[in-house]
């Protein structure tokens, strides 16, 4: 067996982290993307830019700010302590929070594009057919934006799997809690355990390729609004 228990633990942890992060991002990213796609408020620019920040910021910058913000003296850390949660740095919860921030644009932007592409008309049609805005969202917008949701989920998941800098900064490299695959690979390289690094890195490469393959396959046959 080329992968040992700690490698498998890292893989399982990574899978858990990416799944949970994607789920949370779909839940909170959907309203954000919807708002960004529809609003005419001047806040659209600033909020859109904030959501997109992780695209351009080095992950270490995000990680560093999170380390400070989530720490005992940071405003988020104060908030989690006030809520009785303690601080979340060095915990799985902390990683989830970091990943949500880090992968946000990869979920929000495809959704926003999908929502924008739907346009005004289907919503108007639904309204004249007695669908309330909520009803319309679930019966018209969600099905029409399905390709966007698929893309967003795949990108969000994959990007979280590939996350490294943020985890490094706030994770603390704790087995089964914060030691994800990317960090495990880095560990192996650092410790000059190149064989193990190869196996994990190779697995990650294959995984990434398959994910992108799925993504491109799902984009074909995108339904157009008639």
């Amino acid at each position: 067996m080329p992968l040992d228990a700690s490698d498998l633990g890292a893989i399982w942890l990574t899978f858990k982290l990416a799944s949970l992060t994607t789920l949370i991002l779909l839940l909170i990213g959907t309203p954000i993307a919807w708002w960004l796609a529809r609003t005419r408020s001047w806040l659209r620019g600033p909020i859109g830019a904030i959501v997109a920040l992780p695209l351009v910021l080095p992950p270490t910058v995000i990680g560093f700010y999170l380390l400070i913000a989530l720490g005992p003296h940071g405003w988020l850390g104060q908030a989690t302590q006030a809520l009785g949660l303690g601080t979340v740095v060095f915990s799985f919860t902390g990683l989830v929070i970091g990943s949500v921030v880090y992968s946000m644009p990869f979920v929000v932007q495809p959704l926003q594009n999908a929502f924008s592409a739907i346009g005004e008309r289907p919503l108007e049609v639904a309204a004249t057919l007695r669908a309330s805005p909520w009803d319309c969202f679930f019966s018209v917008v969600l099905p029409l934006a399905r390709p966007g949701f698929i893309t967003a989920s795949i990108l969000g998941f994959a990007h979280t799997v590939g996350e490294f800098g943020v985890v490094l900064m706030i994770g603390g490299n704790i087995p089964d809690k914060t030691r994800v695959v990317s960090v495990q690979i880095f560990d192996h390289v650092e410790a000059m355990e190149y064989m193990q690094a190869h196996w994990l890195a190779g697995a990650m490469l294959v995984f990434s390729f398959l994910v992108l393959l799925a993504l491109y396959a799902s984009r074909r046959g995108k339904p157009a609004w008639s």
Binding site: E124, V125, T128, L129, P223
Partner: protein, 362 residues
């Protein structure tokens, strides 16, 4: 006219102002007619609540839908309307059947007055139910769109140039269905169009919009004959007459059409129709000539005694437009200024109108 639909609307966009006070009858087809940019679609969207007018009072059948004075705005999904868009805008992810019942499922059972079968039969789409929208022709799509709107059992049916996106044959495919709606349903229909032929065929009531203002509003038979409107100046100016089928002369294949509220008749070559049926014809101004006496030696079939109501110069200085009253039915005639002077045309004058051709609408 029992004004059952009232709408006072004021909307200001950057480069456009709409300021109208509409009183539309609670039955039949009301056409909002005007050039593009005249505000007719905006009116319709305001009625539906898709556009929120700055100042608005909308009341339909005694129910207030919007009253900006009281800050009241009924959201579009609560307004009992059916709306047909220019492009059918069917939901691509749903089958024809699921498109059709989308609105139907969302109204209370006791409010459902139009059933799926009835709507499909009216629009001739029963064979399409299992199909997906992207496999339909443009005409079929629009018929499904109309049926879908009908299935919400609306109190008012709003149509925004439903034929504009279709080519000639597709238009001719749909028009009969619209006429059936007109004849068979009790639902008032507000129809936005810039195509005079559609309006002439379908409308009972005509609202003429120009640059965000109402220029004229009234029964189509009267409005088209008004000399003070730009309509009278158009090349194909004329009136629409809805007559009642009377006797039929089988030997000559001539059908008598009684003018509304009168004993006067128009005759046209046509096969027999059930007496009492309503038939719509158009009489163009250029096909009406005037004569001081009834000339029975003429080949012209239709000669009616008329009274001159008004005269005005045409936009060509050689021509005059004359509006006429044939025992309650308005007619329009275009004659040369020379003839007008020769006949000494003046208001109140009695003379004979010779109608060279009567065009059946539909």
């Amino acid at each position: 006219m029992s004004a059952l639909i009232q709408a006072r609307l004021q909307v200001a966009f950057d480069d456009f102002r709409l300021d109208v006070d509409l009183q539309l009858p609670g039955r039949g087809v009301s056409a909002l007619f005007g050039h593009s940019g005249s505000g007719k679609t905006t009116c319709l969207r305001c009625l539906a609540g898709l556009e929120r007018a700055d100042q608005a009072y909308i009341e339909v059948n005694g129910e207030v839908w919007q009253d900006s004075a009281r800050q009241y705005f009924m959201p579009p999904h609560q307004r009992p309307i059916g709306y047909v868009f220019q492009e059918a805008s069917l939901f691509p992810h749903l089958s024809v059947k699921n498109n059709l019942i989308f609105g139907w499922r969302r109204i209370a059972q006791h409010q459902r007055q139009v059933g799926l079968e009835h709507a499909c039969e009216l629009l001739g789409i029963s064979h399409l139910l299992a199909r997906k929208p992207d496999t339909l022709s443009g005409g079929e799509r629009q018929r499904v769109g109309i049926a879908r709107a009908l299935l919400t059992s609306p109190k008012v049916l709003l149509m925004d140039e439903p034929l504009a996106a279709l080519d000639g044959p597709r238009k001719r495919e749909i028009l009969p269905y619209l006429e059936r709606l007109h004849d068979q349903l009790q639902i008032p229909l507000i129809y936005v169009s810039h195509a005079q032929d559609e309006v002439a065929r379908l409308a009972d009531h005509l609202v003429l919009l120009e640059q965000g203002k109402v220029q004229a509003s009234g029964p189509i038979s009267q409005t088209l004959a008004r000399l003070d409107l730009p309509l009278a100046l158009q090349e194909d100016a004329g009136v629409v007459i809805e007559g009642e089928v009377d006797a039929h002369d089988a030997a000559y294949q001539l059908l008598d059409l009684k003018l509304p509220g009168s004993d006067l008749r128009l005759r046209l070559t046509h096969e027999a129709l059930a007496p009492g049926a309503r038939l719509r014809v158009k009489v163009q101004a250029r096909d009406v000539s005037l004569s001081l006496a009834d000339d029975s030696r003429s080949s012209i079939l239709n000669r009616l005694p008329v009274r001159v109501c008004a005269l005005r110069a045409g936009d060509n200085p050689a021509q005059m437009l004359v509006s006429l009253d044939a025992d309650g039915t308005a007619l329009l005639a275009r004659v040369t200024r020379y003839s007008s002077d020769q006949l000494g045309l003046h208001e109140g004058q009695q003379l004979w109108a010779q109608i060279k051709s009567v065009a059946l609408l539909g």
